[in-house]
Symmetry: C2
Subunit: 227 residues, 2 copies
Amino acid sequence: MTDSPKPFHIVFLLFDGITQLDFTGPAQVLCRIPGAVIHTAAKAVQPIQTDSGFAILPSTSLAGCPQADLLCVPGGFGIRGVIQDEATLQFLRDQAAAAEYVTSVCTGSLALGAAGLLKGKRATSHWAYTGLLEKFGATHEKARVVKDGNLITAGGVTSGIDFALTVVAEIAGQQWAESIQLSLEYDPHPPFNSGHPDVADPRTLALMRERVYDRQALDLADIIDRQ
Amino acid sequence: MTDSPKPFHIVFLLFDGITQLDFTGPAQVLCRIPGAVIHTAAKAVQPIQTDSGFAILPSTSLAGCPQADLLCVPGGFGIRGVIQDEATLQFLRDQAAAAEYVTSVCTGSLALGAAGLLKGKRATSHWAYTGLLEKFGATHEKARVVKDGNLITAGGVTSGIDFALTVVAEIAGQQWAESIQLSLEYDPHPPFNSGHPDVADPRTLALMRERVYDRQALDLADIIDRQ
């Protein structure tokens, strides 16, 4: 007989308008940590509308959520609602106080910031929003995964996969992380080289800023300044 | 006034035991095709238990599902049930007959095979199961994304993201695909180099084969042979 591993509680915050890959990428990796128990916590146990045209059913309300060993806040356009919801911010503070790891993917870091959890810390976010981190007393570090003590923040969306493998290596060892990477055939070959402002075609970048991100970043800056 | 883009119906098959990232990775990319409408089809409109400790709510039953412009079958350990379910295989045949694209990620290709949709085609699957493709009259092509006519099959799990960007470029043009890649910050930097048998540590590979994949592949081979 082998002893069952000690439960390792992983809590993801879910909210309408979540960029679902911010959550589903890390969940696919982190669920394979020995003893992992995934909790998906939302304000109410009702289907959450993701940004990708499908719904996820949360496992628990915020009030009923067990204490996380690892807390993870994904991002998405819905983060503007999270930032303005004091009950959710208090949930993040309460969970973070006793969690072994406090983490975010993409604009999830802005919710951690709004909860006061980034003060004096190095952190990152989706590339279009890293300029907002200083509003929370944080310093932006230009990296895909940034670790400052027990705070680990990841860049935009797909960086959550790299983040999660980094976390698994820390918790369960490098070989375990490598075996998960192998099982997920994570040997990425993007057909184009456009995944970061440093490498994207400048016209594509300008178009995305103009159509989406400049307005979104200003909108979020305004929300943060008013709080 | 700009005309709204013509609806482009994308149908994902969902089933219990799905490797959710096989679906959620492509969904995050494909939902940004102009006019995209995502349908998540399952035998019943009841929460689908993924392999990652959370549930997804399907949008439609198989019977009620609209005709796909793009049909996508994800994989996962639950694929063994799909392969043995004649009603689901008939759904795939019916959808494939009128779909513009017939696609799969990971072991989803085995369901296409069981439905008779891989005969005489080049295709791929998760690295541990590519040997099973010939049982369906297909030829394995060693690539992360394999296109043969309107059939596009992807390798294991995370290859679904590369697959989806490839599809977007074909449907909506390369600049559109690149702008999605930029918005998802898909500039992967895996912390380890272990995402394929060709590069993984041989001990890690042997361990994974021994613990998981050899038995699973034999089990699936047996199911296929009995049909």
